[in-house]
Assembly symmetry: C2
Homo-oligomer: 414 residues x 2
Amino acid sequence: MSTIWKSRYAQRTLGVKSSAIRELLKVTQRPEIISFAGGLPAPDVFPVKRFEEACHKVLSEHGAAALQYGATEGYEPLREMIALNMARYGILAKPENVLITSGSQQALDLIGKLLINRGDHVLVEAPTYLGALQAFDVYGARYLTVPVDQDGMITERLEVWLRLGPKFMYVLPNFQNPSGVTLSEQRRHELILLSERHGIPIIEDDPYGQLRYEGEHVTPLVVLDRENLRRDNGFTMGNVIYLSTFSKTLAPGIRLAWIVAPPDVIGKLVQLKQGADLHTSTFNQFVAYEVARDGFLDQHVKLIREVYRERRDVMLQALHEYFPPEVTWTHPQGGLFLWVTMPPGTDSQALFQASLAENVAFVPGDSFYANDGREGGRHMRLNFSHSQPERIREGIRRLSVAVKMQLHHNHVAV
Amino acid sequence: MSTIWKSRYAQRTLGVKSSAIRELLKVTQRPEIISFAGGLPAPDVFPVKRFEEACHKVLSEHGAAALQYGATEGYEPLREMIALNMARYGILAKPENVLITSGSQQALDLIGKLLINRGDHVLVEAPTYLGALQAFDVYGARYLTVPVDQDGMITERLEVWLRLGPKFMYVLPNFQNPSGVTLSEQRRHELILLSERHGIPIIEDDPYGQLRYEGEHVTPLVVLDRENLRRDNGFTMGNVIYLSTFSKTLAPGIRLAWIVAPPDVIGKLVQLKQGADLHTSTFNQFVAYEVARDGFLDQHVKLIREVYRERRDVMLQALHEYFPPEVTWTHPQGGLFLWVTMPPGTDSQALFQASLAENVAFVPGDSFYANDGREGGRHMRLNFSHSQPERIREGIRRLSVAVKMQLHHNHVAV
């Protein structure tokens, strides 16, 4: 069934395809399946009651303003609150450094729109967040990839690519999606030095930074950035754009995130956002402000940390109990995901099919590689935030059955 | 103050500038100014109480789902409701023909992304909606323009441009922004015939269609489209993509609109939307569904019609009383705007400055012309939905002072 429109699609759309994860999530929504596939927060910790009170307050006190068109930059009190909150992590942004976006996905889209000419190189981690690749692909990005180990992106492998002059580096330093690893403090310093030496700026994507379950907070890149340290009064010249979100701390269904950048970048992003969706929902911004204020956000993040820490521990324990010794996995200090590595020769797509037969699901690793999915062939991403502990144990048990069958099959095949 | 980023902006951003209206709205927000400049709905008709009840219901009954990530296509019950509502206007869409967007501005952005290669021609009305130009500009559109008279786009002027093969036509048939005029039934038939003959599809933007204050409903282009009439079962092959929104019937602050298109187009737009913002706020979609259901939307639209009809009439009456006879204006049968035409030689920017001195504001016409702002030099767009009737009368009185001074000045200058 073809229409007049198909022949008119722009060149940029030809390479755009639906995310493999998206197709896969449809399969994994059957109730009998225990899914570690989505990147979903636990709905049982959504602060529903607090949202109800906030909606009541916003509508009874500010109904006319909250339902009206708003400024593209975002709701001023929310921008101020975000700036204040970030200051505790050393990020000395002022409200004019903050642009509210319709989720971090829009932040990535606006950044792609702002910076990428067709054919430009963008440096990303291997593996990296799939949604960033989707956002950048449409603007014609090509990728340079740097592998990740237990300490995050291997910065020693960086310099050779930086000489090729990528437009920017896209990095997830904390509890990276999909691998769960955190970029070490030492590598953060190296990364900033290399960024300055080669004049290649950085997009620091930090959706999970507050969700740390053990270990010490590591300084954000945007704070290490020496251009920012030279600031006199708020940061105005930085080489790092910082992204974060309320999706993992309040709720993803309100689609609220933010970009921190120098004012001239914010100004240009505001123009692009105006053409993209005018502004983010005024109502949701008012509501999020009411939900988060008076210390509620901090208190709620503590609760989330407790719940997710337990789930991570249950998953780690179950992996230890059920999985064969040839299989390894990361030990994330925070976030939502861990990353399992199978012996060479494993086909994670075949394993995925075998797992479905056992009523358990994950995301095969190949989706997370910008250039060569084969690198991901023996990995799987497991989400530990969404399922209840007893479901996690049972899911890992089921998964271990599929894994053992697959390893046996490999063995026989060899 | 320049940063590392500036030298890295993509080519597409070079022509992007902040909308003149946006800059101008900042000036006009001073409380002493009566502003006819914004395109704002009246906050006094927002159904605040109904929103409060809906938020309560959604959060107490569906909190976990409403605050979670959702499908890119949109919330299924809302898509079904939209499809049902449109059927009353003859638009026989099924839910799979409907994509929920984050306001109509996102619909325009996604359509630009889907269809426009740099340098492509897009045919638009002169004047046309500024936000569409902003959305299409970033993808490198060039424009062919067809003038508008009391019956909408002058279709006799169309054929010469269609031979140049524009990618699509962008048309606002009902109570056009900015002119307030409506495309006549006869011209709609001509437009559809020309579209078919030349194989040039149409984007029909209809944010105001339900807000008719007099006269008979005119058949939408999407219904006249013969490709659609050939459908067996819902429309699958149409040459018209139809856009509408809840911004003018419920509230703009929830950023909810929709695209109606053949399934293959919806499929591609879903992929692009996934990269752009994953999905529109789940929470707002649940809430809008609860607000609109059980006939509330229809009943509320009736109220809006009454309120806006009165304001339009007050503005028309005041123009008649205060304005000099050389000045003319449109008589919109619906919508939010009317369009004032001054004698040749008037400079609407100078008039704008003179009006600010009288504490009244409007949008100078030049902003609404894709190619040559000079065409708009003697026009002004006046919004009649936002201000209370007594403010409208006083605003038009003030504006008439500035207009008369300006005409006198012209006269002296000649």
